[in-house]
Symmetry: D2
């Protein structure tokens, strides 16, 4: 038996559409979410935010708490980062997403962010899933890089079972034997999920590809296959990024990507 029910399309045939500050996510729409991987400073954040807004992004990304493989790496700006994001939201009129790592920080992050993110390493952190479920805020749930589609929807069910149906699924690549990319983007997961669940599903071409050159091609594939949006790392100066600079786009590269993606969306209407 599948480990989910509330998020299944069986009892809920129509698409879920989540509306945040006037932006619709799900259904027939396509929404670009973009910004720096980690918030590093006001300058870095505001330059990115202005650029992605201008190019057509409608939601701002930027993290204040980062999960790192080594305890000695940069761990994020914490609450200060959230304050900068909240400022940027007003200036550029974009709701923002921020990751939460610790169940004890959920209320803090939720007091600032419009959308909470549960990252790939925490997809099976059921304690955290329940806690973000309780807030009622929209939640971006990244697929664990080693999770099956069924386990991913089971994790969404943990959130939904707390009374929170506003889950946005993010396909961001899975771990395989192939090493020419950081992870293998499982692009087929988009139609697979849309068939069995009513939740919106978007694609993260930045973390799966892991290299700047691959981000635009993967974003085009996401638009063509029917994803509800994309989540893209953009940084004004990728070579000095504190986290994942190799995969961040320059503002002008993001604008070119958006032109192609818009053309595909228009062609398929």
């Amino acid at each position: 038996m599948r480990p989910f029910q509330l998020v299944s399309r069986d009892d809920h045939p129509e698409d879920t559409i989540i509306t945040i500050r006037g932006v619709d996510i799900g259904g027939d729409g396509f929404v670009a979410m973009a910004g720096p991987c980690a918030v590093e400073s006001r300058d870095q954040l505001f330059t990115s935010a202005e650029a992605v807004r201008k190019a057509g992004a409608r939601v701002l990304r930027g993290d204040a708490f980062k999960p790192r493989t080594s305890p000695y790496s940069f761990q994020g700006l914490g609450e200060e980062g959230l304050q900068l994001l909240a400022e940027a939201r007003e200036v550029f009129d974009m709701p923002f997403i921020a990751e939460v790592l610790d169940p004890r920080h959920v209320d803090l992050v939720a007091s600032y962010a419009d959308i909470l993110r549960v990252g790939t390493r925490n997809m099976s952190n059921y304690t955290l899933l329940q806690e973000v479920g309780r807030t009622g805020k929209p939640v971006q749930l990244k697929r664990g890089f080693t999770a099956t589609v069924d386990e991913w929807l089971g994790a969404a069910e943990y959130i939904a079972s707390e009374g929170n149906p506003n889950v946005i699924l993010v396909e961001r690549g899975i771990r395989t034997f192939e090493t020419s990319t950081r992870n293998t983007l499982d692009i087929a997961a988009v139609p697979v999920v849309r068939e069995i669940s009513h939740l919106p599903v978007i694609v993260d071409p930045s973390h799966s590809g892991g290299r700047r050159e691959l981000v635009a091609p993967l974003a085009r594939a996401a638009a063509a296959i029917g994803a509800h949006g994309i989540l893209v790392d953009v940084h004004p100066n990728p070579d000095e990024a504190k986290v994942d600079g190799a995969q961040a786009l320059l503002p002008e590269e993001f604008a070119a990507l958006m032109a192609d993606v818009d053309a595909i969306i228009a062609a398929l209407r």
Copy 2:
């Protein structure tokens, strides 16, 4: 050190374009290749061929020798299948591809087919690779479902090192832990290969998805990401197909797929 040289873009920066009976494969073009997985009868083959030609396919697929997991499964019509394919080529004006399994059959298959295919299970069958290399005929080389990109290009090098540069690479999905699809289409392999090799690379959405519903979405992703073509199973009566019926499209489904793919290609020009 990478196990390839002749197929690398390093010493051969411009794209290879392979021309077969007036059809160009590679460069800026996009070519649909379609037809039944296995040739079963004249009727089945001709109905498929007519339908795919009409929908815009330019190359016919159809196998006469099939590699099967069980020795007791249908193994293909053999030479009779090749004769039917050669007939269909003339009637519908489409060059055709056919798989070869045995180095001792290479001359036979090459005497009929326009393009030889080396299948996923034989990607590391170096004896067979050398033998198809010697024919000088264009070769479709499917990625082993467990091969890295480097190993795949190493296999292409075996063909090229026999003096045959006409290799068409086919991404058809890799084996991963995910079971919601037959294999996981590694869509990122398309830009990865185009970056390091001058060979054309196409996508097989049928064998990777393994289910009819997934073929059109995956084909759209292939067109958007920059593949040089697609390879699609089409059958007039999939429920009675002797091989892989679950993934075969009906002729009308293939026509709808082609309309979307053409729209994407046009939008990106």
Copy 3:
């Protein structure tokens, strides 16, 4: 650069030996840890504990909090389970291990258990790792079923970097394409880890095999390859177990396993 330092053998060439209530884990010793997967009742726990103690196990396992794929499955007895475990410890003179899922429960679990376990789904839950690190109690750290050896040792480093060097690594199988077992036991990880880290490393043959028939063969392999111990599910009535009954051994099967394991350990001295 490897994401660990304190747990590396480079600066700490001799094996770490962790002593808990007179039981040494690490170095040249071999310790069997056994008991029910989940504590269900006093009867079930005490019957298991008595049997495994008699057969030679020196540490009791039994969980009070269980991470489950579905939010609707049995989640464990909670504190009541810990109280039963603490009672069993005194009666059978065995220190016990219990899993902790939530950073807010760390103090509670640590107030009862002799060893805290971080499970496979939480291996990259850095918040939890830091919290168990702060307690100073020995921690069993299961390898994430999708974690590389380097990531696993990086997770151990998170615990060690809080000043807690008492980490026991548990190899419990990784996720691969093979489905004849629940996970693929990466038996080579034992010598690989012993080469680069000074921490004790044990094997869980129950969760990797996922079937009763495989537990004893895998336990023998663990003893022969040089693991510091094994972690085995034993249940007086596996068919009625609330969690993972298919892989639990009957007490008499565990006794037979121990006889073989002891013979191997003796033969290799």
Copy 4:
């Protein structure tokens, strides 16, 4: 339905025992097969053969045809290698195994070798499987590094269905995300295969580990878990080996390995 029948234990409950020049493979026995990966010269072969025979190996390994990832690597001595192996067989009284790559070489290799090997890259080369099946000679069938147990037994069925029941299965590691070893030895495959098939199954600790340090631990695990034997690379001068030197044992290392393995086998009787 499983793709095998003749090799299943269902209709053939007792173990198959294959006797070659007085050496029994299968049943309750344990046989070490060892020698150089590739035959390079009489000296190299004879020094290895003498050493492994003295340490207790009963079957000689040594290949004359090697499948290589790059067409430009050393491909083996060909027939000259087979002649040297046949000479060594008489001098040291050991039957020998040699790999065959090309269906057109099967008769040649079979005219010299006592056991034919089908390598991991050719496990799904059905043409080759049928051809070695027709010889009636014992066949060592390596598991494809990406094959499931069912596919592996399906490949054995191809051989058996030609009337040749003398198949020796070799577990040699599968491809996974872990990179600390060359492949991940699926040690659980030994009891899994013994449960469903009557064929002998041995373990290759050299090609799975890929590093000298891991060979002895993995061989001990193989003996303890119930394999019918091991297949080990031994070279008098590994640093100068033309193929896979990093995993070859020195003669004295092999002797130490054999002492441990013999102790385990004796302890479990």
